[in-house]
């Protein structure tokens, strides 16, 4: 097995579910998330880039997932045209500690995410899931920091229209680096 194949093998076996979860946050569709992960893996591991280990590979793959998602509007065309007419399937966590409120909040959040434009959603995920700062998001998406702030401002406003107030997500807080572990 060549070097890139070994890293790919390790990455899939140890981080596939986490990568799929990340893709799911962006696309809101498990099947599409699987496709996104596969496309991203192909994109990263077909470039001949030297990847030392799983951590380096995952970083590239996450970025490729983001790019593929933002670039891949075609595959969502039909669904996107009708999704606002289709009720979000009520999903419950598999955990048995779930409560009705817990589920309701999550369904609301998924519905709220679904109304965001792709780039807005990408900014939200990078900011509030990946814990990136505004400059880091700007670099990730090749945007200016002002544009990122605008996307986040618009996105948070639209999320609040569905979820109610999100006091921790306001612009004045956006430059504060939030802490969080690796997912």
């Amino acid at each position: 097995m060549t070097g890139w194949e070994q890293v790919l093998d390790d990455l899939v076996r140890t981080r596939r579910r986490a990568l799929t979860a990340y893709a799911y946050l962006l696309c809101q569709d498990l099947r599409e998330a699987e496709d996104l992960v596969q496309d991203a893996l192909v994109a990263v591991f077909s470039r001949g880039r030297r990847l030392e280990n799983v951590m380096a590979g995952e970083s590239y793959v996450r970025k490729a997932i983001l790019n593929t998602y933002l670039d891949g509007f075609r595959r969502r065309n039909r669904w996107a045209a009708v999704r606002h007419l289709v009720a979000t399937a009520p999903e419950q966590p598999v955990s048995d500690v779930a409560t009705t409120d817990h589920v309701a909040a999550r369904v609301d959040a998924q519905r709220a995410l679904s109304i965001l434009a792709p780039r807005e959603r990408a900014c939200v995920i990078l900011r509030f899931y990946d814990d990136l700062t505004i400059p880091q998001i700007a670099e990730h998406l090749s945007l200016s920091t002002g544009t990122v702030k605008r996307y986040l401002h618009d996105a948070v406003s639209r999320l609040e229209a569905v979820l109610g107030p999100l006091p921790a997500a306001h612009l004045e807080d956006l430059d504060v680096l939030m802490t969080g572990g690796s997912r």
Binding site: R16, L25, A33, V42, D71, R75, A81, R119
Partner: protein
């Protein structure tokens, strides 16, 4: 209007996002194909791309030599459907192999004691003469025409035909398998892992989704007649009681796969129907229709908003199948469109409207298939409802009707003009190239994109399938120095109407390109834009019309060489914005 669930509200967005991601990670689908199989697919594709890339790099080197030899630059154009096509997504789906496993696996025989209970799966695939939904086909029933390869599967519901209210906890996805000569020939497909636990009252029903069967031999399902069996693994129990693992089953239904005759339109009205033939149903659901301000554009999917209003004092649950829009002239239907939605149940509180507005859209073509002629029409909106608590058991649907509304269709189907009402408004706070932003003044830049585009037109046949626009652009050195540096290999561009951005920014994964260009000389980059309307939450194409194409590019100059040949290291970023040309979009 939005609905908020009671109880704790998600005010911690990171926590909510993590919870959603954790659910996705824990689902069966996330990792549905075994890792080994998944890896094989990735390795095969990645290796193929590596080989193609190596071969292409050899070709590129040869072409570069040839270009220098002739001393000229060819401006290539690649417009429309071919350019920038993205390979279709592939899903790792395990091919069902013949097996001697238990039903419903491939190759297994249907159990001799197959029978549906009081809580069972029923389908509208077969309705008897009274409109009753059947849990299974009966001798003499005509098969339900379908095309399994297009996911046009039978609609399924869990019907509670017992005497007590039960909860039915399941993924909401019922396994459907196809049987021929008593043996499974298309086995269980993949199922996502959401979990729902609806309550079903006696006589009530809730919809579930049918999964797509996987052909056992890996080949497309051959045309012909099959029996469909459906199985839903569920936790069924009386409300408040302890649920028990149960297989809720239904079928067999006769299916005619690949039939030339499709199930046919389920629309309430057909072309040339008299509107007076429509039965009027007013209670308990009203349709509140918001009409466009002024003339509307045919085919505009956001021109109309429909809100479902519960006119009673008590909450109502309804299953919705579709929303139909009709244009009527002379008392007859002359154009129609339907937004088919998967049947789903919504709960509407008494005296309130359902939270999400619906956007059924206007027809783009008339009954003859021609563009809808400009002029005045009467508009009718019809939505089919089924009350899962009562109506579904009788298999009949009711229709809520709103109309007639007077509406004017604008006369711009030729594409020469574009209704501003259909495009995003100018947003003074937006920064180019964001949606609605004003285009900047074309300031002189020492390193600019020159206008070279003559794009004749883009045909967007289906507004729900927007397209890419690609063309060659030239970047010209307008300084007196020779410049060395790099830029992206692609120039992103947006479409502009009346001075503001109306298409989404294209996201182009491009490589860096090194350049060395003498004064007044140019180098070529690909220009990429999309026809995607930036003012819509759904993906849809811009309306027909002529648009300006504006490109923007950052270039990084690392070295300047003056006329005398002396070189200076620099670190300059040049941001160029330019009107590149025009493009016409036709539907």
């Amino acid at each position: 209007m939005t609905q908020h669930h009671g109880g704790s509200r998600p005010d911690d967005l990171p926590e909510i996002l993590r919870a959603i991601a954790d659910d996705a990670a824990a689902s069966r689908l996330a990792g549905s194909a075994p890792d080994d199989e998944f890896l094989i697919g990735v390795r095969r594709r990645a290796t193929a791309v590596r080989r193609r890339r190596n071969a292409r790099q050899g070709m590129v080197a040869a072409v570069c030599v040839a270009a220098v030899g002739v001393g000229g630059v060819v401006i290539a154009q690649n417009v429309g459907t071919g350019g920038g096509a993205i390979a279709p997504a592939t899903t790792s789906v395990a091919t069902a192999e013949p097996t001697s496993g238990a039903f419903p696996l491939c190759g297994a025989a249907v159990p001799g004691d197959w029978a549906a209970g009081d809580v069972r799966l029923v389908s509208q695939a077969h309705l008897d003469e009274d409109g009753m939904m059947l849990s299974a086909s009966r001798p003499g029933d005509a098969p339900f025409a379908t095309d399994v390869t297009l996911s046009e599967l039978i609609p399924l519901m869990v019907l509670n035909d017992g005497e007590e209210t039960v909860t039915v906890g399941s993924t909401g996805y019922a396994t459907v398998v196809l049987v021929k000569d008593g043996v499974v020939v298309a086995g269980p497909g993949m199922t996502p892992e959401p979990y729902t636990e609806p309550t079903v009252e006696p006589g009530g029903a809730v919809p579930v989704t049918a999964t797509l069967p996987d052909p056992c031999d890996g080949e497309p399902i051959a045309d012909g007649q099959y029996e469909a069996y459906a199985i839903l693994d569920a936790q069924v129990g009386a409300t408040g009681g302890e649920p028990a693992a149960t297989q809720v089953v239904g079928g067999p239904w006769l299916l005619e796969v690949g039939a030339s005759e499709t199930p046919g339109s389920m629309m309430a009205l057909q072309c040339d129907d008299e509107v007076s033939e429509v039965p009027r149903w007013v209670d308990p659901i009203h349709l509140d229709v918001t009409l466009p301000q002024g003339p509307a554009v045919a085919g505009d999917s956001r021109a109309l908003r429909v809100d479902l209003f519960n006119a009673t004092d008590s909450p109502a649950n309804f299953a919705i199948d579709g929303i139909e829009t009709y244009l009527v002239r002379g008392g007859k239907v002359v154009a129609s469109t339907e937004v088919a939605v998967m049947p789903y149940v919504v709960e509407i509180p008494g005296g309130q409207a359902y939270g999400d507005g619906h956007f059924p859209g206007l027809p783009s073509a008339d009954c003859a298939g021609d563009p809808v002629a400009p002029g005045d029409y009467s508009l009718y909106i019809i939505t089919e409802f089924a009350d899962p608590a009562t109506t579904l058991i009788a298999g009949t649907q009711t229709q809520a009707i709103s109309g007639p509304h007077e509406i004017t269709i604008a006369g711009d189907a030729s594409g020469e003009g574009v209704s501003n009402a259909a495009l995003p408004e100018l947003d003074p706070d937006a920064e180019f190239p964001m949606c609605g932003a004003a285009v900047p003044d074309e300031a002189e830049d020492t390193f600019g994109i020159e206008t070279v585009l003559e794009i004749p037109g883009v045909k967007v046949a289906d507004p729900t399938k927007p397209d890419w626009i690609t063309a060659a652009g030239m970047v010209t050195n307008t300084t007196r120095d020779t410049l060395l540096g790099n830029s992206s290999t692609s120039v992103p561009a947006v479409l502009v109407q009346d001075g503001r951005v109306v298409s989404i920014e294209p996201y182009v994964e491009a490589d860096a390109k090194d350049f060395s260009v003498a004064p007044r000389e140019s180098f070529e980059l690909e220009v990429t834009a999309t026809t995607v309307h930036c003012g819509r939450s759904a993906i849809e194409a811009l309306p027909p019309g002529t648009y300006e194409v504006w490109g923007y590019l950052d270039t990084y100059v690392k070295e300047r060489q003056n006329a005398s040949g002396s070189a200076t290291s620099v670190n300059e970023k040049h941001h160029a914005v330019a009107r590149l040309g025009e493009v016409t979009i036709n539907h």
